[in-house]
Symmetry: C2
Subunit: 341 residues, 2 copies
DNA sequence: AACCTCAAATACAGCGCTGTAAAATGCAGC
DNA sequence: GCTGCATTTTACAGCGCTGTATTTGAGGTT
């Protein structure tokens, strides 16, 4: 039982080979305590030679951690969350965390339960993209449970770390893009009732900066978040005979898809007559014709920042708010823009 | 340090309260060894009273397991896989497994690496939905690593457990549905080069059973798996002036979506003039107009069967092949069918 | 050369659980 | 009431790692 050739090498085996104590090897592996360079090299060589890998279960047991963090999203089968989850998994590997993905269904109770109720596995932290979670809920949680919130359904009153893109700035960038080749009548579509306020702020900022007033008649609230809702709302507007927009700023890709459908089905050409931008860069681009210009949050950065914040969090600390970058991905639905039309 | 009130209760604490040995509590919790009913009750009461939860890290350490299984899919942000992953997570909780989701990108090397290369965390098993994995690859794996394969890119020569729906039967069901209100010219669309053979077999079965011959001219291979591919392929066919189909059997939902677009853009009404069925029930239904009738694999069953198979697998054993049920979800794209047209 | 300081390395207990082997208990049958 | 045997329960040594307290030793000062 003591280190047969094809058995997984242990710390003690490495120590023996390197001629040092177990703890020194541990120190090298963890990098927390300084180790003299010569010793360090010897240890690393031994690790290499034996193909040593730390045993996570033992480490966690000794540290009193589980090594498991939860990543909670409303639904995993919504592509925005699925793609974010994918990045989260990648990044978590860096920390040796395994990620337990949870689906809250957007239910406040489910979101709260994850923070307050005892879980089958003790959690070392939670990253959540909440829909309904209130500031009080955040307050009620076990203060020893590190928490990072994601997305835009979070405000200053939530006392927890937060990671997200600058939605206002992004909304402005998208709208500016539409304006950049002379589009004049830019409509905005956002889901009621919360209207993705920050994104609309950005839209207004851009119009103001271009010296155009905001025609509140052109800011449309859809009934829900689905493509059909946007199709219906925009469709009614178009059918009402009012002067048509020459561009549409949609607060989400779903709405943008619905908008495109409403336009195309009424014979309006996208992007020639009406340009459309969306928001989120959900991985559907191939399914849509024309493909969609959209604001793409840097998901890798979001995941990385969230996990860093989670790791660095300490019980009493002041909440941290982090901004992840975004980019504007230009595709067919605004083609021609910036290329001389 | 010995059981302060608000510390997580341990096995030894439960044992003390119940007046039995640690091991007896362990036996009750694990249910492997028989325990007298009276003792059992006492132990359960103590567990309840103290709110005891087993420490997974310690258990795994003692058992020499990691408690982690891998679930590998080509891409998590494809909705079919995302929704399957969601189910897998749910089911894995039953076994106390945490799931490490891997993305292979459909690369053979990545698929193989998961089976052969040493992972950061030792894996207790792998469930994989392979795209490229060969029977030889399966053979090459560490025989101690339990493996369950999912989906249709697996055949008899892969010596590993397999879970999937009966694609042939499902293809038949979908096609029968189209035929059931008198559609006569049913086209088939499948992605080349593998053509989702089983599904097409089912299509042929259904035509044969209805006394209709298969017009091989109506079996179309698309260039790829994307909606656009189907749109292009079907579009060309339609534009060629050949007599139009009155129904389309698409081997995947993506192709079905492309087919609908090709039809609608040419002024053909779906479902009035052409009915369309898809395959997979990807959660996009709301994005498509009309919503899509499709073959819905029972994802819960797939997940459950896969994990059962994984748990019950033993190194030398004969591979098991399990069939999960499916259902035909009738939506707008075949509306009218079975309702008197 | 003796002394001090501080960085580097060590020894070892213990994290909470399970497997093993040994002990206790219950229950027939006589 | 005792023996023999099957059933139930126990004691305890690890699983592989890290935290703490302690020892070692390198390098600088007098």
């Amino acid at each position: 039982m003591t280190s047969s050739p094809n058995m997984q090498a242990r710390l003690v085996d490495v120590a023996k080979v390197a001629g040092v104590s177990m703890k020194t090897v541990s120190n090298v592996v963890n990098g927390s305590v300084p180790v003299r360079e010569a010793t360090r090299k010897r240890v690393l060589a031994a690790i290499e030679q034996l193909g040593y890998r730390p045993n996570v279960a033992a480490r966690n047991l000794a540290k009193g951690r589980s090594g498991v963090i939860a990543f909670a999203v409303p639904q995993l089968d919504r592509p925005y969350f699925a793609s974010l989850a994918a990045r989260m998994l990648d990044e978590a590997e860096t920390y040796g965390w395994t990620v337990q993905i949870h689906q809250t269904g957007g239910q406040r109770e489910a979101e709260l339960a994850l923070l307050t109720e005892r879980q089958p596995v003790r959690l070392d932290g939670v990253v959540m993209s909440p829909l309904q979670l209130t500031p009080e809920d955040v307050h009620r949680r076990d203060p020893a449970l590190p928490l990072v919130l994601l997305g835009e359904n979070v405000d200053q009153s939530h006392r927890a770390d937060h990671v997200g893109i600058d939605n206002r700035e992004a909304g402005r960038a998208a709208t500016e893009h539409l304006l950049s080749d002379g589009r004049q009548r830019v409509m905005a579509l956002a889901p009621g009732p919360n209207l993705k306020v920050e994104r609309l702020h950005g839209y207004r900022d851009a119009l103001a900066a271009a010296g155009l007033g905001v025609d509140e008649d052109m800011v449309l609230a859809t009934e829900g978040v689905r493509g059909e809702d946007a199709e219906l709302t925009l469709g009614r507007w178009l059918d009402s005979g009012r002067p048509a927009p020459d561009a549409v700023f949609a607060a989400t890709d779903w709405l943008a898809m619905g908008a495109i459908r409403a336009l195309v089905l009424r014979g309006r050409k996208v992007p020639q007559q009406v340009a459309v931008v969306g928001f989120d860069d959900i991985p559907y681009d191939l399914a849509i014709l024309p493909t969609l210009t959209t604001v793409a949050p840097d998901r890798v950065a979001i995941a990385r920042l969230a996990l860093q914040a989670l790791r660095d969090q300490e019980p009493g600390g002041e909440p941290v708010r982090l901004r992840a970058p975004f980019s504007l991905v230009v595709r067919e639905s605004t083609a021609g823009i910036r290329r001389g039309r």
